[in-house]
Symmetry: C2
DNA sequence: TTGCTCTATATGTCCGACATAGTTATTATT
DNA sequence: AATAATAACTATGTCGGACATATAGAGCAA
């Protein structure tokens, strides 16, 4: 018996649950069957199912069985759940799009709030990230490009945290993978990187000067750069409809 | 042995964890001790601890013990966790304030997004809530006042859901208790209720006409009503500093 | 049809045992 | 005496089997 079988089994059952087609039944096998299927004891199975229950994925009724809850009940605002959806989920693209929409909608607002509440430590954290971005901008394309991405993510994280509000701070933990994925998609050239850095710097300066409106506008400009770059990178005809209701 | 001891034990351990003073150790008793303390078997204790682990509250290392994770790791965006913090947490007021700040910041934005994405069904859901508010507005103060509150909450929930975005939809599930608490605080008179209803109606109409900016402005006016009412209801000197960093 | 009991099923709980991973104490070596 | 290898200890992780309990369905009776 290896160590932490429970985690491995949880992952397997999560795959089993999230990758199911919608036309299948929403009942999952009994504990005993799962126990045999994965070659572990019932206790281990129960530990995994307990985790999924805590995250709102499944629902267990004594005597009846274990069923998958409707997706609206899932605790999407849990980074593990988000990870499972994007790895195994059949509607992973939809989720990714909605996360992106969400981020585009809030990021300017977050910047303006950060401008109101950022502490000195928050400012230096943002500055540290920006410095890292600048230092790695000149050598883009080499292996250090990855370093640039990490500093980019760190920059955005620092701004969310600078709101000094738990909700925003927690949200960035959820959004981080989405931010990371978006940055990876858009590989910029050296000159574009310089522009990106300078636009990011405008956000920092507005926050430092405690000018919410300016921070808001600067964040909008950062996003515009991202959007235009996305449009350029994506296949020409793949402009996502994005509107679920244009009736 | 009663049914669902696990839930009860989870609640007890949650109280034990959340109500601890910060100067105490961050280690919690061994499974065997908890088992004796609550008069249940080790399995039941483990089920409870597994739930708390899944929500990021505690961390367990084989051979070492179970420790409480730093608060920044807690999955605050989980309605159960939020409930525990507000029930047992020593910093419940702080959380409530931050939830309120968050809601004040996003609600106009949510209204504008709803104006872009609301479906016909969403509109009728909002309208249904508003009708309920109007019907129960005249008899405020009686037992139907509670009915009015419920329709008020339903109104806000419907707007979040009308964004057709999972993140906003999940967030309203987290915010609902906060919204409810705020509404309970501010018991309005009959004429003020009429004003409240009419301002809410403006939001609906803007969404129906698909005018994001108007919806945004209308939502701001709804919040202004709430704010002014809060200021009137609260004890005069209790204007929360709210700024964590005015150095 | 309605309502009851009885039965089958699957989860919830209990117990006892051992495995495994950290931590601490002990011993041996230089 | 300082340090490294080893042993003992602690607490969680896993196992197996047993029984309790809640739910659903079948069968039966009024």
């Amino acid at each position: 018996m290896e160590s932490n079988n429970s985690l491995r089994v949880t992952e397997h059952i999560a795959e089993l649950v999230f990758s199911r087609m919608s036309n299948e039944t929403n009942l999952i096998p009994r504990e005993v069957d799962l126990s045999r299927q994965f070659g572990v004891s019932r206790s281990t199975i129960r530990a995994a199912l307990q985790t999924l229950t805590a995250k709102g994925i499944i629902e267990r009724v004594s005597g009846s069985g274990t069923r998958i809850r409707p997706m609206t009940c899932w605790n999407i605002l849990d980074h593990e759940v988000i990870g499972w959806v994007s790895k195994y989920g059949t509607a992973a693209d939809l989720l990714e799009q909605q996360l992106l929409d969400f981020r585009m909608a809030i990021e300017p607002l977050v910047a303006s709030i950060a401008a109101q509440h950022a502490s000195i430590q928050d400012l230096s954290a943002i500055e540290h990230a920006l410095t890292g971005m600048a230092n790695t901008a000149q050598v883009a394309g080499t292996w250090q490009g990855k370093g640039h991405q990490e500093y980019d993510i760190l920059f955005h994280q620092s701004i969310y945290r600078a709101t000094n509000n738990v909700v925003w701070s927690q949200l960035v933990a959820i959004l981080a993978p989405s931010i990371s994925a978006l940055i990876e998609k858009s590989h910029l050239g050296a000159t574009e990187l310089q522009l990106s850095v300078s636009r990011h710097r405008e956000v920092l300066e507005a926050i430092r000067l405690r000018q919410p409106d300016k921070a808001y506008a600067a964040a909008v400009r950062v996003l515009e750069l991202t959007k235009s770059d996305l449009k350029r990178t994506d296949s020409p005809m793949k402009n996502a409809p994005s509107g679920p209701s244009h009736s």
